[in-house]
């Protein structure tokens, strides 16, 4: 089963994401900020990264940029969590190398359908 890395500084959102993905049978790694996310990503290659944008230590955009610089993550789907109003952020994320985005607020169903879109 695919391994998914979930990065979010909000424990509750992370909990929901992690719980939903585990229920769906994925292996899940989690991290509370971009820097920790990058470390986790280096320790084990994930098949998908889902990351929040606004986080302490390292934001999601920088994380995407860093990940794309790693050989293991050249083609890995990376989804950013963004709020509906941040069209600017979507573009900034894309420019950094993000695959796509998931608009907050989202529910487990929406999360799963988005995951299917990138993991098939």
């Amino acid at each position: 089963m695919a391994t998914i890395l979930a990065v979010d500084d909000s424990a509750s959102l992370r909990q929901m994401v992690v719980f939903t993905l585990k229920e769906a049978g994925y292996d899940v790694m989690e991290a509370a900020d971009g820097a920790a996310g990058l470390e986790a990503a280096k320790s084990k290659a994930a098949d998908l990264v889902i990351s929040d944008i606004n986080m302490p230590n390292m934001d999601g955009i920088t994380l995407v940029r860093e990940l794309r610089g790693l050989p293991d993550y050249k083609f890995t789907p990376i989804l950013l969590l963004t709020t509906e109003s941040s069209d600017e952020k979507k573009q900034e994320g894309k420019a950094a190398g993000a695959t796509g985005w998931l608009v907050k607020p989202f529910d487990p169903e929406k999360l799963m359908s988005t995951i299917k879109r990138v993991l098939g």
Binding site: A11, L13, D33, S85, G97, A98, W101, P108, E109
Partner: protein, 686 residues
């Protein structure tokens, strides 16, 4: 798959309250905020907004949106963090907290002042920016995302639904794969919308030698039934529209171009313009910002789980004690075996203690959880009373039991409010007294032996002996002859006592020091007062490190063993007959350095047979409660140990004179004595 998201609501509330506390702390800073502090405030608001929407608190999300937008403008340098904005944000913090508290209580998540605050934020947002920034576009305040303009003209002229099949020409730019997107996945997504036909255009492929495996050099022509919704098709390409040339049209439209005629120079992969304000976050070089400890280094553990662990370790401690007892009494074993057994036991004891400490530490929280609310309390209250107060907080990292922390909030808040209300004088009076106009209030936490010490010190007027005495007499309270300071300070702990000349809405409403002291004693703590007229008052709260374990002294009465909390014991002695006196109406007393202390024979209190009937044959333990002292007469002292407290009320019922029970090393149950009620009981047993 359905997932019940309500199970995450508690975590959401916890983290949101933490976020609000953080916002408050930062907003209350005296100095100007640096960009990292503003960022932290913004992130907290942003997080609350995002999560609130997800967990079904739309009103919270909507309300927070305004605050977040304003903070975003500050963050981007479009506005300055003025005192007005700080005030407004503090107000917003209060409203959000009210909403979440209401939500936690199960009510509708609304705050009474919410609309008014929201309106003020809106007004602020509508006002001109605080600082000029020509490059900044008008702040995007609408929550609605503008759909990116479609690159292709759509067929808008038809009235009847157009059911001609869709024809799609998809020409990705070479770098498409490097954004993690994969045309095959887009196609499989499209395939779920309807019957999809995919035709790969290979004519554009370069010769084999020029193939770049990491580039996407193919083009595709796709067909979908005309009944498929256009928006759904566009959504499938949403993530790649900046990385491809996409032609979407109905069969027969001129717009549907031939794939190989489409120049493969889709929008160049230009990095999005970096907005001036969002350069790299300042990463501290040598002046690195101090990490907030709550950020990464903390975990969230359900209290029940920790409680279970604490109980398990408690059992382990008991088992260890049990084996220890065997080890010490096993004389039948040969010396070597006993030696080994003892070595093993020493190890077990060490391990057990370490495990116990480690597990207890999970329950420990920095006292900052309580202290962090005081800057706000002090600010609000001193403003309200027209006083100037400088608050100093020392030792806020001192950790104590979570259960204790929760029980400390009310008493400490009361003491702080008291210190500002009654302690620190108005600026005029301070000036007249030759003191700086701004008073100082110091909150200090630290360790003292096995205890936590919390001091609340003000440099105010101090307690007024005369006024307290006068008040006590006028309220008909018993006042000792020639009272010492200590006697007088005790008076303010009497129920209903208040010396405030005017009953403010701050304090002096009868919920007095007696309640504060009772709350502190309820967690095995002690409250002491020290005061000098004109110089100020110091209140000292002493607390045990944890609620679960007690340092105790075991004493024997006949067959029974009782535990006395070590903190209550002043001394133990074997009285000589001339130290024992009978006082009419008060029973027997022990004379100790001129003081007469009531003698309380424990075998009378609990009505059990004792080995010794005469105190001079046994031992008396002098204990002190907050109100009085007593000399407990027991048969002998056994040993000092840490005992695990088991609630008697949970397992049996409340027993006078007993605060709990524990299981001794030999498996017997021993009662833990409640010294306070014993000193009160003394009058009823004789």
């Amino acid at each position: 798959m359905t997932i019940d998201i309500s199970q995450f609501v508690q975590a959401f509330l916890d983290e949101s309250f933490e976020g609000l506390d953080l916002m408050e702390v930062e907003l209350l800073r005296e100095q100007a905020l640096d960009s990292e502090q503003v960022n932290a405030i913004f992130r907290a608001a942003h997080s609350i907004k995002g999560s609130a929407g997800t967990f079904g608190f739309a009103a919270v999300s909507e309300f927070t949106h305004g605050a977040e937008t304003l903070l975003d403008e500050v963050r981007d340098g479009k506005r300055e963090m003025t005192a007005e904005i700080r005030g407004l944000m503090l107000e917003a913090v209060d409203r959000i907290r009210e909403m979440l508290l209401a939500a936690r209580a199960g009510g509708a998540h609304h705050a009474a002042g919410g609309p008014a605050t929201a309106a003020r934020i809106e007004t602020m947002l509508a006002s001109a920016h605080g600082c000029p920034d020509d490059k900044s576009q008008p702040a995007q305040r609408t929550a609605v995302a503008t759909e990116p303009a479609a690159p292709i003209p759509t067929d808008a002229s038809t009235d009847a639904p157009d059911t001609r099949p869709w024809e799609i020409v998809f020409v990705p730019e070479p770098a498409l794969l490097r954004s993690g997107n994969d045309p095959m996945r887009i196609f499989s997504w499209l395939g779920e919308l309807g019957d999809l036909t995919v035709e790969c255009v290979t004519r554009t492929l370069p010769p084999l030698g020029a193939l770049a495996p990491e580039d996407c050099q193919l083009q595709w022509r796709l067909a979908l039934p005309g009944t498929v919704d256009e928006a759904a098709i566009r959504e499938a390409f949403e993530w790649v529209e900046d990385q491809c040339s996409l032609t979407l049209g109905r069969v027969g439209d001129a717009a549907a171009a031939q794939p190989d005629e489409v120049p493969a120079t889709a929008p160049a992969h230009t990095p999005a313009p970096q907005s001036a304000g969002t350069a790299e976050r300042p990463v501290g070089s040598n002046g690195a910002p101090v990490e907030r400890r709550a950020d990464a280094a903390s975990i969230r553990v359900a209290t029940e789980k920790v409680d279970t662990l604490v109980n398990m370790v408690g059992e382990l401690v008991i088992t260890q004690a049990m084996i220890n007892t065997i080890g010490h009494s096993a004389d039948e074993l040969d010396a070597r075996a006993v030696d080994h057994l003892r070595q093993g036991l020493a190890l077990l004891e060490r391990n057990t203690r370490e495990l116990q400490e480690a597990v207890l530490s999970v329950r420990m929280l920095p006292i900052n959880f309580v202290f962090s609310r005081f800057p706000r309390v002090v600010r609000d209250l001193s403003t309200q009373l027209g006083k100037r107060v400088n608050l100093k907080i020392i030792g806020e990292d001192t950790e104590l039991d979570k259960g204790l922390i929760e029980k400390l909030v009310d008493p400490l808040t009361h003491l702080v409010r008291n210190a500002i209300d009654h302690g620190i004088e108005s600026p005029e009076r301070r000036r007249a007294a030759g003191k700086p106009e701004t008073g100082t209030l110091v909150l200090r936490a630290g360790h003292e032996g096995g205890n936590i010490l919390i001091e609340i010190t003000d440099d105010g007027a101090g307690l007024n002996r005369e006024r307290i005495l006068e008040k006590a007499r006028s309220q008909g309270m018993p006042v000792p002859e020639q009272p010492s300071d200590r006697d007088i300070w005790q008076l303010i702990f009497a129920p209903g006592f208040s010396t405030a000349e005017t009953v403010t809405d701050v304090s002096g409403r009868g919920v007095g020091m007696d309640v504060v002291r009772r709350n502190i004693e309820a967690v095995n703590g002690r409250l002491d007062i020290d005061s000098k007229p004109g110089e100020g008052t110091r209140l000292t709260v002493r607390l045990p490190l944890t609620l679960a374990i007690l340092d105790g002294m075991s004493v024997r009465v006949g067959e029974e063993v009782y535990i006395l909390p070590l903190t209550a014991i002043l001394e133990s002695l074997k009285p000589t007959p001339d130290q024992l006196h009978s006082v009419s109406g008060r029973g027997r007393v022990v004379r100790l350095r001129g003081d007469y202390i009531p003698l309380v024979p424990l075998h009378h209190v609990f009505n059990v047979p004792a080995t010794y009937e005469r105190p001079e044959d046994g031992i008396v333990v002098v204990v002190e409660s907050s109100e009085d002292r007593a000399a407990l007469f027991v048969d002998e002292l056994i040993a000092q140990h840490q005992v695990v407290i088991k609630s008697l009320e949970t397992n049996y019922r409340k027993v006078p004179g007993v605060s709990g029970a524990t299981i001794m090393g030999d498996g017997r149950v021993a009662m833990i004595l409640d010294v306070d009620s014993l000193t009160r009981l003394q009058d009823t047993v004789h």
